[in-house]
Amino acid sequence: MDTSSLSSITDVRPVAVVGPEPVRAESSLRILVVEDDPNVRDMLSLLLGTRWTVRTAPDAAAALALVKQAPPDLVISDVRMPQIDGITLLRRLRDEPGTRDVPVILVSGRAGEQETIAGLEAGADDFLVKPFSARELLVRVQTRLEVTAMRRRNAQQEAALDIMRRHTGWTERLLDSLPVPLLLLEPGDAQILFANRATIAMFGSRLTRGRPLHEFVKFRLPDDEGGGVMPAGDLAPSSSGARLQGRRLVCDTAEGTVWLMADSDLVPQIHDHRPVAVLTLRDITRLVRHEEELRRTVHLREEFLSIASHELRTPITTLGLQTEVLLRGHGQQAVKDDLRRKLTVIRNQVLRLDQLVSVLLDVSRLMAGRLVLTPENVDLVSVVNDSVDLVHDAAEQAGCAIVVRGATSIPGRWDKLRLGQVVTNLLSNAIKFGHGHPIEVDVQPAGERARLIVSDHGVGIAVEAQERIFKRFERASSERHFPGLGLGLWITKEIVEACRGTILVASRPGEGACFTVELPRET
């Protein structure tokens, strides 16, 4: 960026930068009169004393001593004085840094050209030639005091500007050290006031201060948001304009298309700094590419799962059906006991295989956040009865009698398959951990909700494990005693929550566990 030809951020505007110096009362301005002639001295003192504070000195030495005490605002000195003359006094004042700028008016008896030239060379501000009128004296002194005051004000202003330039320089260095591209813009039209080093690195050095940002780079909305060009007022909000907050934008650079996360804000006028819009542009190109890749991967995985589920389930179906047909005796021929036992084992293993496939597919879907519910009119009680039928054999083998109590019908709108899965999972869990003990299922309407309670009398769950059991791959008991993937309750909880329901467990070790599910009846 060509910084030399341009003003800096704060673009110093003298009037706004420093206020006028407080005006000192006229009477407080000090005038030192140096005159060896006591009559003239008194006369000057009298005349000037009507308006200003006057001190007098009979010679240059006394004058220098007084000046040292307190520098005056103006010195009026006679040229011709014994010992040190007025011109020498003037030179001494000009040599001292403390008095260099004190205005000096020389007074001479006659208009000697030589004296005048010598006085001007030594740095006199004005000349009074005797005789002069009181009016002339007062006008010349007043003029000189005014000029001095003005000069002093200018000097102060210059100093203040200098401080501000130094601050500005410091601020710019600070912003340059940020790794994030940051621009300071004129609110509304997005004229560039400053662009930090990271911005230059991104967009190149063609960015020029004082020119609108859109002359150099156009920011577009992503295609899926319409692809429109971002207006200047959004990039550089004025007081009424909306700010950008983490807005995704796209722009073209020499490196190719860049994705940005843009944030804009307005820093209002603070003291003498005018309002300025701040625009930060974080490069999220890599992130966006990763996101795209992730989406593609998830999609591919979904495709794969869909195919895998088909491929896995078809042989499981065939295997299951064939076993069933054989078990039914395939017509009239009775199946021998031994063969029946073996076929039963095969059928059970096929069922287990199918359950494992279901669990794995469910986990994949839940992890991808793709559980799709298809609610229909369902009776919860009949779903419970179906699930009880489904686990009947397993319950019988485990010595668990299942008792269903409560309402005879609870209609609602639920995803039948998923609801069945919740009930079956809770029953399977109760059978697994409540070996040899009865299991109670209680189904009740609860206002707008339906309540399902599954209680077992098995090993129970320690309080500290009760939260953990709903997490993935977690179990309350050791793997050796109770095999399984540790996913059943997690899946159950995920389904219940997808139905906007709740699941709770109450249990004490050794006293069984009681799971309570509540589901809204209308989803």
Binding site: R313, T314, I316, T317, L321, L417
Partner: protein
């Protein structure tokens, strides 16, 4: 066969197809099979139409969705009830609207229940032998 109404099984898996044939024929139904949607459409060119179509969705050549679309757009074939047999629970492709579904894996009992429910009483199965 040409005189009797039958069930058309459309599935690319020959073992599952055979298994279903066994179960349905055991129950007294008459069956015909096709390995792809295209094959099934060819069979449906015949004037003797099935009372029910059991349709797999994922098949080579003409898949189940494509077959269903063609079948539904043909006024001669559209009235035939379709029982979709699939494993793709919860995937985006979904079940063709208007069809009934049997999720894999299923039991012999559930397939027979569905079949009995879908076949109109007038075209019921022959009594078991």
């Amino acid at each position: 066969m040409s005189q009797t109404e039958y069930i058309l099984l459309v599935d690319d898996d020959p073992d599952l197809r055979q298994c279903l044939v066994d179960i349905l024929e055991d129950e007294g139904f008459v069956t015909q099979t096709a390995g792809t949607g295209r094959e099934a459409l060819a069979l449906l060119q015949s004037p003797h139409l099935p009372s029910l179509i059991l349709l797999d969705l994922m098949m080579p050549e003409l898949n189940g969705w494509q077959f269903y679309e063609r079948q539904q757009s043909d006024p001669r074939l559209a009235p035939i009830p379709v029982l979709v047999v699939t494993a793709n629970r919860g995937t985006s492709a979904g079940i063709p609207p208007g069809s009934d579904v049997l999720w894999k894996p299923f039991s012999a009992e559930s397939v027979l229940n569905k079949v009995h429910g879908l076949i109109a009483p007038t075209s019921g199965p022959a009594p078991p032998h």
